[in-house]
Protein backbone atom coordinates (compact mmCIF):
# COMPACT_ATOMS: atom_id res chain seq x y z
CA UNK A 1 0.00 0.00 0.00
CA UNK A 2 1.47 3.30 -1.10
CA UNK A 3 1.48 6.38 1.12
CA UNK A 4 -0.42 9.35 -0.30
CA UNK A 5 1.80 11.57 -2.43
CA UNK A 6 0.76 15.06 -3.47
CA UNK A 7 1.24 15.62 -7.19
CA UNK A 8 0.23 19.28 -7.45
CA UNK A 9 2.82 21.43 -9.21
CA UNK A 10 3.87 24.97 -8.26
CA UNK A 11 1.38 26.62 -10.59
CA UNK A 12 -1.54 24.70 -9.11
CA UNK A 13 -0.39 25.52 -5.60
CA UNK A 14 -0.07 29.23 -6.49
CA UNK A 15 -3.59 29.19 -7.97
CA UNK A 16 -4.99 27.35 -4.94
CA UNK A 17 -3.33 29.77 -2.51
CA UNK A 18 -4.86 32.86 -4.12
CA UNK A 19 -8.21 31.13 -4.65
CA UNK A 20 -8.52 30.05 -1.04
CA UNK A 21 -7.81 33.51 0.41
CA UNK A 22 -9.81 35.41 -2.19
CA UNK A 23 -12.85 33.15 -1.80
CA UNK A 24 -12.84 33.38 2.00
CA UNK A 25 -12.66 37.17 1.75
CA UNK A 26 -15.43 37.10 -0.86
CA UNK A 27 -17.79 35.11 1.34
CA UNK A 28 -17.18 37.48 4.27
CA UNK A 29 -17.83 40.50 2.04
CA UNK A 30 -21.00 38.95 0.58
CA UNK A 31 -22.36 38.16 4.06
CA UNK A 32 -21.51 41.59 5.51
CA UNK A 33 -22.88 43.42 2.47
CA UNK A 34 -26.16 41.55 2.70
CA UNK A 35 -26.55 42.23 6.42
CA UNK A 36 -26.00 45.94 5.78
CA UNK A 37 -28.55 45.75 2.96
CA UNK A 38 -31.48 43.82 4.46
CA UNK A 39 -31.20 45.35 7.93
CA UNK A 40 -30.94 48.75 6.25
CA UNK A 41 -27.91 49.80 8.27
CA UNK A 42 -27.15 52.31 5.49
CA UNK A 43 -29.44 54.22 3.12
CA UNK A 44 -30.72 52.28 0.09
CA UNK A 45 -30.80 53.32 -3.57
CA UNK A 46 -34.09 51.45 -3.96
CA UNK A 47 -36.34 50.29 -1.12
CA UNK A 48 -36.57 46.52 -0.68
CA UNK A 49 -40.35 46.50 -1.10
CA UNK A 50 -39.95 48.18 -4.46
CA UNK A 51 -37.41 45.57 -5.59
CA UNK A 52 -39.67 42.74 -4.38
CA UNK A 53 -42.69 44.30 -6.07
CA UNK A 54 -40.97 44.17 -9.45
CA UNK A 55 -38.70 41.12 -9.37
CA UNK A 56 -41.17 39.30 -11.63
CA UNK A 57 -40.33 41.66 -14.52
CA UNK A 58 -37.67 41.09 -17.17
CA UNK A 59 -34.33 42.62 -16.14
CA UNK A 60 -34.61 45.36 -18.76
CA UNK A 61 -38.18 46.24 -17.72
CA UNK A 62 -37.21 46.11 -14.04
CA UNK A 63 -34.50 48.76 -14.49
CA UNK A 64 -36.81 50.84 -16.67
CA UNK A 65 -39.40 50.87 -13.90
CA UNK A 66 -37.15 50.86 -10.83
CA UNK A 67 -34.60 53.57 -11.48
CA UNK A 68 -31.51 53.68 -9.31
CA UNK A 69 -31.13 49.94 -8.67
CA UNK A 70 -27.43 49.06 -8.92
CA UNK A 71 -26.09 47.24 -11.97
CA UNK A 72 -22.85 47.11 -13.92
CA UNK A 73 -19.99 49.41 -12.98
CA UNK A 74 -22.35 52.36 -12.63
CA UNK A 75 -23.10 51.09 -9.12
CA UNK A 76 -19.84 52.64 -7.89
CA UNK A 77 -21.43 56.07 -8.32
CA UNK A 78 -23.66 55.24 -5.32
CA UNK A 79 -21.18 53.26 -3.23
CA UNK A 80 -22.48 54.72 0.03
CA UNK A 81 -25.75 52.81 -0.19
CA UNK A 82 -26.43 49.44 1.48
CA UNK A 83 -27.88 47.71 -1.59
CA UNK A 84 -24.93 48.91 -3.67
CA UNK A 85 -22.45 47.51 -1.13
CA UNK A 86 -24.17 44.14 -1.38
CA UNK A 87 -24.00 44.37 -5.18
CA UNK A 88 -20.30 45.28 -5.09
CA UNK A 89 -19.59 42.21 -2.94
CA UNK A 90 -21.14 40.11 -5.73
CA UNK A 91 -19.03 41.91 -8.34
CA UNK A 92 -15.99 40.90 -6.27
CA UNK A 93 -16.87 37.21 -6.84
CA UNK A 94 -16.58 37.91 -10.56
CA UNK A 95 -13.01 39.12 -10.08
CA UNK A 96 -11.66 36.19 -8.02
CA UNK A 97 -11.02 33.89 -11.00
CA UNK A 98 -9.17 36.69 -12.81
CA UNK A 99 -6.81 37.16 -9.86
CA UNK A 100 -6.11 33.41 -9.79
CA UNK A 101 -5.45 33.30 -13.53
CA UNK A 102 -2.99 36.20 -13.28
CA UNK A 103 -1.15 34.29 -10.51
CA UNK A 104 -1.16 31.16 -12.71
CA UNK A 105 0.11 33.16 -15.71
CA UNK A 106 3.01 34.57 -13.69
CA UNK A 107 3.86 31.10 -12.34
CA UNK A 108 3.81 29.64 -15.88
CA UNK A 109 6.05 32.51 -17.06
CA UNK A 110 8.55 31.73 -14.30
CA UNK A 111 8.58 28.11 -15.50
CA UNK A 112 9.13 29.44 -19.05
CA UNK A 113 6.02 27.55 -20.18
CA UNK A 114 5.08 29.95 -22.97
CA UNK A 115 1.98 28.08 -24.20
CA UNK A 116 0.25 28.32 -20.83
CA UNK A 117 1.54 31.80 -20.12
CA UNK A 118 -0.19 32.83 -23.33
CA UNK A 119 -3.38 30.86 -22.57
CA UNK A 120 -3.52 32.35 -19.04
CA UNK A 121 -3.20 35.94 -20.18
CA UNK A 122 -5.53 35.56 -23.17
CA UNK A 123 -8.08 34.08 -20.75
CA UNK A 124 -7.57 37.02 -18.38
CA UNK A 125 -8.02 39.39 -21.33
CA UNK A 126 -11.32 37.69 -22.28
CA UNK A 127 -12.59 38.03 -18.71
CA UNK A 128 -11.44 41.66 -18.45
CA UNK A 129 -13.20 42.49 -21.71
CA UNK A 130 -16.34 40.78 -20.38
CA UNK A 131 -16.04 42.65 -17.08
CA UNK A 132 -15.51 45.95 -18.88
CA UNK A 133 -18.69 45.35 -20.85
CA UNK A 134 -16.90 45.20 -24.21
CA UNK A 135 -17.82 41.56 -24.86
CA UNK A 136 -20.79 41.47 -22.57
CA UNK A 137 -22.99 44.28 -23.81
CA UNK A 138 -22.21 46.67 -20.96
CA UNK A 139 -22.99 50.32 -21.04
Amino acid sequence: MKQETVHADKVQLAYAGILSKATTLGMILVALGYIVYVFQLMPLSVQIDQVAGNWGLRASEFHHKVSGAPYGWSCFNQAGNGDVLSYISIIYLGIVTMMCLVAAGIAFLREKNMIYTLISFVQVAVLILAAAGVLSGGH
Partner: protein
Protein backbone atom coordinates in the same frame (compact mmCIF):
# COMPACT_ATOMS: atom_id res chain seq x y z
CA UNK B 1 -30.30 0.22 10.85
CA UNK B 2 -33.57 1.97 11.68
CA UNK B 3 -31.83 5.34 11.80
CA UNK B 4 -30.21 4.59 8.48
CA UNK B 5 -33.57 3.78 6.93
CA UNK B 6 -34.99 7.03 8.26
CA UNK B 7 -32.09 8.97 6.73
CA UNK B 8 -32.49 7.12 3.45
CA UNK B 9 -36.15 7.95 3.38
CA UNK B 10 -35.76 11.51 4.63
CA UNK B 11 -34.41 13.23 1.54
CA UNK B 12 -36.76 11.68 -1.00
CA UNK B 13 -39.54 12.42 1.47
CA UNK B 14 -38.54 16.09 1.73
CA UNK B 15 -38.32 16.32 -2.03
CA UNK B 16 -41.65 14.63 -2.59
CA UNK B 17 -43.24 17.01 -0.08
CA UNK B 18 -41.70 20.00 -1.81
CA UNK B 19 -42.95 18.76 -5.15
CA UNK B 20 -46.38 18.26 -3.68
CA UNK B 21 -46.45 21.73 -2.15
CA UNK B 22 -44.90 23.55 -5.05
CA UNK B 23 -47.86 23.98 -7.36
CA UNK B 24 -49.35 26.29 -4.75
CA UNK B 25 -46.18 28.35 -4.67
CA UNK B 26 -46.12 28.35 -8.43
CA UNK B 27 -49.69 29.49 -8.54
CA UNK B 28 -48.78 32.34 -6.23
CA UNK B 29 -45.89 33.15 -8.53
CA UNK B 30 -47.97 33.26 -11.68
CA UNK B 31 -50.68 35.18 -9.91
CA UNK B 32 -48.38 38.19 -9.44
CA UNK B 33 -47.97 41.19 -10.29
CA UNK B 34 -49.98 41.86 -7.10
CA UNK B 35 -48.06 39.63 -4.73
CA UNK B 36 -49.08 40.34 -1.16
CA UNK B 37 -46.51 37.99 0.38
CA UNK B 38 -43.88 39.91 2.37
CA UNK B 39 -40.51 39.99 0.61
CA UNK B 40 -38.72 38.38 3.52
CA UNK B 41 -40.97 35.31 3.29
CA UNK B 42 -39.78 34.69 -0.27
CA UNK B 43 -36.16 35.42 0.65
CA UNK B 44 -36.25 33.13 3.69
CA UNK B 45 -38.07 30.48 1.66
CA UNK B 46 -35.40 30.77 -1.03
CA UNK B 47 -32.64 30.31 1.55
CA UNK B 48 -34.29 27.20 3.04
CA UNK B 49 -35.08 25.82 -0.40
CA UNK B 50 -31.53 26.30 -1.73
CA UNK B 51 -30.16 24.82 1.49
CA UNK B 52 -32.17 21.62 0.83
CA UNK B 53 -31.20 21.76 -2.83
CA UNK B 54 -27.52 21.99 -1.84
CA UNK B 55 -27.82 18.84 0.31
CA UNK B 56 -29.55 16.92 -2.45
CA UNK B 57 -27.24 18.20 -5.21
CA UNK B 58 -24.03 17.03 -3.59
CA UNK B 59 -25.49 13.62 -2.67
CA UNK B 60 -26.81 13.13 -6.20
CA UNK B 61 -23.44 14.21 -7.63
CA UNK B 62 -24.74 17.16 -9.64
CA UNK B 63 -23.91 20.85 -9.44
CA UNK B 64 -26.35 23.16 -7.71
CA UNK B 65 -26.85 25.42 -10.73
CA UNK B 66 -28.49 22.78 -12.88
CA UNK B 67 -31.16 22.16 -10.22
CA UNK B 68 -31.48 25.80 -9.16
CA UNK B 69 -32.52 27.42 -12.45
CA UNK B 70 -35.36 25.15 -13.58
CA UNK B 71 -36.82 24.67 -10.11
CA UNK B 72 -36.58 28.24 -8.81
CA UNK B 73 -37.80 29.71 -12.11
CA UNK B 74 -40.80 27.40 -11.95
CA UNK B 75 -41.78 27.80 -8.34
CA UNK B 76 -40.69 31.27 -7.17
CA UNK B 77 -42.01 34.64 -8.33
CA UNK B 78 -38.68 35.90 -9.72
CA UNK B 79 -38.28 36.51 -13.44
CA UNK B 80 -36.15 33.91 -15.19
CA UNK B 81 -33.58 36.63 -16.07
CA UNK B 82 -32.78 37.06 -12.37
CA UNK B 83 -32.91 33.32 -11.74
CA UNK B 84 -30.39 32.66 -14.51
CA UNK B 85 -28.06 35.40 -13.27
CA UNK B 86 -28.27 33.96 -9.77
CA UNK B 87 -27.88 30.39 -11.05
CA UNK B 88 -24.49 31.32 -12.49
CA UNK B 89 -23.44 32.92 -9.21
CA UNK B 90 -24.60 29.87 -7.23
CA UNK B 91 -22.52 27.62 -9.48
CA UNK B 92 -19.58 30.06 -9.40
CA UNK B 93 -19.54 30.40 -5.60
CA UNK B 94 -19.70 26.62 -5.21
CA UNK B 95 -16.84 26.15 -7.66
CA UNK B 96 -14.69 28.80 -5.99
CA UNK B 97 -15.04 27.28 -2.54
CA UNK B 98 -14.57 23.69 -3.74
CA UNK B 99 -11.47 24.55 -5.77
CA UNK B 100 -8.45 24.89 -3.43
CA UNK B 101 -8.37 21.34 -1.96
CA UNK B 102 -8.91 19.80 -5.40
CA UNK B 103 -5.87 21.67 -6.74
CA UNK B 104 -3.70 20.96 -3.72
CA UNK B 105 -4.42 17.23 -3.91
CA UNK B 106 -3.56 17.26 -7.60
CA UNK B 107 -6.99 15.90 -8.54
CA UNK B 108 -7.89 18.92 -10.65
CA UNK B 109 -5.64 19.66 -13.60
CA UNK B 110 -5.26 23.32 -14.52
CA UNK B 111 -3.80 22.67 -17.96
CA UNK B 112 -6.78 20.52 -18.90
CA UNK B 113 -9.22 23.07 -17.47
CA UNK B 114 -7.60 26.13 -19.06
CA UNK B 115 -7.30 24.54 -22.49
CA UNK B 116 -11.02 23.82 -22.59
CA UNK B 117 -12.31 26.92 -20.82
CA UNK B 118 -10.53 29.48 -23.03
CA UNK B 119 -12.89 28.70 -25.87
CA UNK B 120 -15.76 27.74 -23.54
CA UNK B 121 -15.72 31.10 -21.77
CA UNK B 122 -16.08 32.97 -25.07
CA UNK B 123 -19.06 30.84 -26.05
CA UNK B 124 -20.61 31.26 -22.61
CA UNK B 125 -20.54 35.05 -23.11
CA UNK B 126 -22.24 34.56 -26.48
CA UNK B 127 -24.79 32.22 -24.87
CA UNK B 128 -25.60 34.73 -22.14
CA UNK B 129 -26.09 37.54 -24.68
CA UNK B 130 -28.39 35.37 -26.80
CA UNK B 131 -30.26 34.15 -23.72
CA UNK B 132 -31.00 37.65 -22.48
CA UNK B 133 -32.12 38.78 -25.92
CA UNK B 134 -34.57 35.93 -26.59
CA UNK B 135 -38.25 36.19 -25.66
CA UNK B 136 -39.16 34.65 -22.31
CA UNK B 137 -41.30 31.87 -23.80
CA UNK B 138 -38.52 30.80 -26.16
CA UNK B 139 -36.09 30.63 -23.22
CA UNK B 140 -38.53 28.60 -21.12
CA UNK B 141 -39.06 26.20 -24.01
CA UNK B 142 -35.34 25.80 -24.71
CA UNK B 143 -34.63 25.45 -20.99
CA UNK B 144 -37.31 22.77 -20.67
CA UNK B 145 -35.87 20.79 -23.58
CA UNK B 146 -32.33 21.19 -22.24
CA UNK B 147 -33.29 20.04 -18.74
CA UNK B 148 -35.14 17.04 -20.16
CA UNK B 149 -32.01 16.28 -22.22
CA UNK B 150 -29.87 16.49 -19.07
CA UNK B 151 -32.30 14.13 -17.34
CA UNK B 152 -31.78 11.59 -20.11
CA UNK B 153 -27.98 12.03 -19.94
CA UNK B 154 -28.04 11.53 -16.16
CA UNK B 155 -30.26 8.49 -16.51
CA UNK B 156 -28.21 6.80 -19.23
CA UNK B 157 -24.61 7.87 -18.61
CA UNK B 158 -22.29 5.26 -17.20
CA UNK B 159 -19.04 6.89 -16.18
CA UNK B 160 -15.75 5.10 -16.42
CA UNK B 161 -13.54 5.40 -13.34
CA UNK B 162 -10.23 4.67 -15.04
CA UNK B 163 -10.46 4.88 -18.85
CA UNK B 164 -7.55 3.25 -20.66
CA UNK B 165 -6.03 5.58 -23.28
CA UNK B 166 -3.67 3.72 -25.61
CA UNK B 167 -2.27 6.79 -27.32
CA UNK B 168 -2.72 10.49 -26.59
CA UNK B 169 -3.58 12.71 -29.56
CA UNK B 170 -1.13 15.25 -31.01
CA UNK B 171 -2.96 18.30 -29.66
CA UNK B 172 -3.07 17.00 -26.08
CA UNK B 173 0.66 16.27 -26.32
CA UNK B 174 1.33 19.80 -27.60
CA UNK B 175 -0.78 21.21 -24.77
CA UNK B 176 1.05 19.00 -22.23
CA UNK B 177 -2.23 17.59 -20.93
CA UNK B 178 -1.47 14.54 -18.82
CA UNK B 179 -1.01 13.92 -15.15
CA UNK B 180 -0.69 11.73 -12.12
CA UNK B 181 -2.74 11.67 -8.94
CA UNK B 182 -2.97 9.58 -5.81
CA UNK B 183 -6.17 7.52 -5.84
CA UNK B 184 -7.51 7.00 -2.32
CA UNK B 185 -9.65 4.06 -3.44
CA UNK B 186 -6.84 2.17 -5.17
CA UNK B 187 -4.24 3.40 -2.65
CA UNK B 188 -1.80 4.06 -5.47
CA UNK B 189 -0.74 6.68 -8.01
CA UNK B 190 -2.70 6.77 -11.26
CA UNK B 191 -1.13 8.10 -14.47
CA UNK B 192 -3.49 9.50 -17.04
CA UNK B 193 -3.53 11.08 -20.47
CA UNK B 194 -6.28 12.08 -22.89
CA UNK B 195 -7.28 11.67 -26.53
CA UNK B 196 -9.82 13.24 -28.95
CA UNK B 197 -8.87 16.76 -27.77
CA UNK B 198 -10.27 18.56 -30.87
CA UNK B 199 -13.67 16.87 -30.34
CA UNK B 200 -13.56 17.92 -26.69
CA UNK B 201 -12.87 21.54 -27.67
CA UNK B 202 -15.88 21.56 -29.99
CA UNK B 203 -18.10 20.11 -27.28
CA UNK B 204 -16.91 22.71 -24.76
CA UNK B 205 -17.99 25.47 -27.17
CA UNK B 206 -21.50 24.01 -27.05
CA UNK B 207 -21.43 23.45 -23.28
CA UNK B 208 -20.22 27.00 -22.62
CA UNK B 209 -22.96 28.43 -24.81
CA UNK B 210 -25.69 26.50 -23.01
CA UNK B 211 -24.28 27.30 -19.57
CA UNK B 212 -24.30 31.02 -20.39
CA UNK B 213 -27.68 30.96 -22.05
CA UNK B 214 -29.52 29.20 -19.22
CA UNK B 215 -27.37 30.18 -16.24
CA UNK B 216 -26.68 26.52 -15.53
CA UNK B 217 -23.49 25.29 -13.97
CA UNK B 218 -22.25 22.80 -16.53
CA UNK B 219 -20.84 19.97 -14.43
CA UNK B 220 -23.53 17.69 -15.89
CA UNK B 221 -21.86 18.10 -19.28
CA UNK B 222 -18.22 18.80 -18.36
CA UNK B 223 -17.75 15.55 -16.48
CA UNK B 224 -19.05 13.17 -19.22
CA UNK B 225 -16.99 15.00 -21.87
CA UNK B 226 -13.79 14.85 -19.79
CA UNK B 227 -14.42 11.26 -18.76
CA UNK B 228 -16.14 9.55 -21.68
CA UNK B 229 -14.91 11.60 -24.65
CA UNK B 230 -11.42 12.71 -23.61
CA UNK B 231 -10.73 9.70 -21.40
CA UNK B 232 -9.67 11.43 -18.17
CA UNK B 233 -10.21 9.41 -14.96
CA UNK B 234 -13.54 10.12 -13.28
CA UNK B 235 -12.02 11.81 -10.21
CA UNK B 236 -9.87 14.07 -12.40
CA UNK B 237 -12.91 14.84 -14.56
CA UNK B 238 -15.10 15.84 -11.62
CA UNK B 239 -12.36 17.97 -10.01
CA UNK B 240 -11.27 19.66 -13.25
CA UNK B 241 -14.88 20.40 -14.17
CA UNK B 242 -15.00 22.72 -11.15
CA UNK B 243 -12.35 24.97 -12.71
CA UNK B 244 -13.88 25.01 -16.17
CA UNK B 245 -17.12 25.98 -14.47
CA UNK B 246 -15.49 28.78 -12.45
CA UNK B 247 -13.95 30.35 -15.58
CA UNK B 248 -16.95 29.92 -17.91
CA UNK B 249 -19.46 31.06 -15.31
CA UNK B 250 -17.37 34.11 -14.43
CA UNK B 251 -17.40 35.16 -18.09
CA UNK B 252 -21.17 34.68 -18.44
CA UNK B 253 -21.91 36.22 -15.04
CA UNK B 254 -20.46 39.53 -16.26
CA UNK B 255 -23.06 39.64 -19.01
CA UNK B 256 -25.84 39.20 -16.44
CA UNK B 257 -24.24 41.82 -14.17
CA UNK B 258 -24.02 44.32 -17.03
CA UNK B 259 -27.59 43.65 -18.16
CA UNK B 260 -28.91 44.21 -14.63
CA UNK B 261 -30.00 40.57 -14.26
CA UNK B 262 -28.52 40.12 -10.78
CA UNK B 263 -30.44 41.24 -7.69
CA UNK B 264 -28.50 40.91 -4.41
CA UNK B 265 -31.81 40.37 -2.59
CA UNK B 266 -32.19 37.04 -4.44
CA UNK B 267 -28.57 36.16 -5.19
CA UNK B 268 -27.06 36.24 -1.70
CA UNK B 269 -29.53 33.93 0.11
CA UNK B 270 -29.32 31.53 -2.83
CA UNK B 271 -25.52 31.42 -2.73
CA UNK B 272 -25.47 31.12 1.08
CA UNK B 273 -28.19 28.43 1.20
CA UNK B 274 -26.55 26.37 -1.53
CA UNK B 275 -23.10 26.56 0.05
CA UNK B 276 -24.33 25.59 3.51
CA UNK B 277 -26.43 22.78 2.06
CA UNK B 278 -23.48 21.51 0.06
CA UNK B 279 -21.36 21.30 3.21
CA UNK B 280 -24.07 19.34 5.05
CA UNK B 281 -24.63 17.16 1.99
CA UNK B 282 -20.92 16.31 1.85
CA UNK B 283 -21.13 15.10 5.48
CA UNK B 284 -24.24 13.00 4.75
CA UNK B 285 -22.69 11.57 1.61
CA UNK B 286 -21.44 8.37 3.26
CA UNK B 287 -24.64 7.86 5.26
CA UNK B 288 -27.37 7.86 2.63
CA UNK B 289 -28.09 5.81 -0.46
CA UNK B 290 -26.76 8.07 -3.20
CA UNK B 291 -28.57 6.04 -5.86
CA UNK B 292 -31.94 6.70 -4.24
CA UNK B 293 -31.26 10.45 -4.06
CA UNK B 294 -29.93 10.43 -7.61
CA UNK B 295 -33.16 8.83 -8.83
CA UNK B 296 -35.20 11.43 -6.96
CA UNK B 297 -33.13 14.22 -8.51
CA UNK B 298 -33.66 12.77 -11.97
CA UNK B 299 -37.43 12.77 -11.32
CA UNK B 300 -37.23 16.31 -9.93
CA UNK B 301 -35.32 17.49 -13.00
CA UNK B 302 -37.79 15.79 -15.31
CA UNK B 303 -40.72 17.52 -13.57
CA UNK B 304 -38.96 20.91 -13.62
CA UNK B 305 -37.97 20.45 -17.28
CA UNK B 306 -41.51 19.49 -18.24
CA UNK B 307 -42.90 22.44 -16.33
CA UNK B 308 -40.49 24.87 -18.03
CA UNK B 309 -41.48 23.40 -21.40
CA UNK B 310 -45.18 23.82 -20.63
CA UNK B 311 -44.57 27.41 -19.48
CA UNK B 312 -42.83 27.99 -22.80
CA UNK B 313 -45.98 26.84 -24.57
CA UNK B 314 -48.01 29.15 -22.34
CA UNK B 315 -49.71 26.25 -20.54
Amino acid sequence: MGLKNIKVGLLPGVLATLLFLMPQLAFAASATPVDTTAWWVWVLGLFVFTFLLGIVAVIAGVGGGVLYVPIVSSFFPFHIDFVRGTGLLVALAGALSAGPPLLRKGLANLKLAMSMSLIGSMSSIAGALVGLALPEKAIQMALGLTILGITVIMFLSKNSAYPQIEKPDALSKALQIHGIYYDEHLKQDVDWQIHRTPVGLLLFILIGFMAGMFGLGAGWANVPVFNLVLGAPLRVSVATSVFVLSINDTAAAWVYLHKGAVLPLIAVPSVAGMMLGTKIGAKLLTKVHTNVVRRVVIILLAVAGLRALLKGFGI
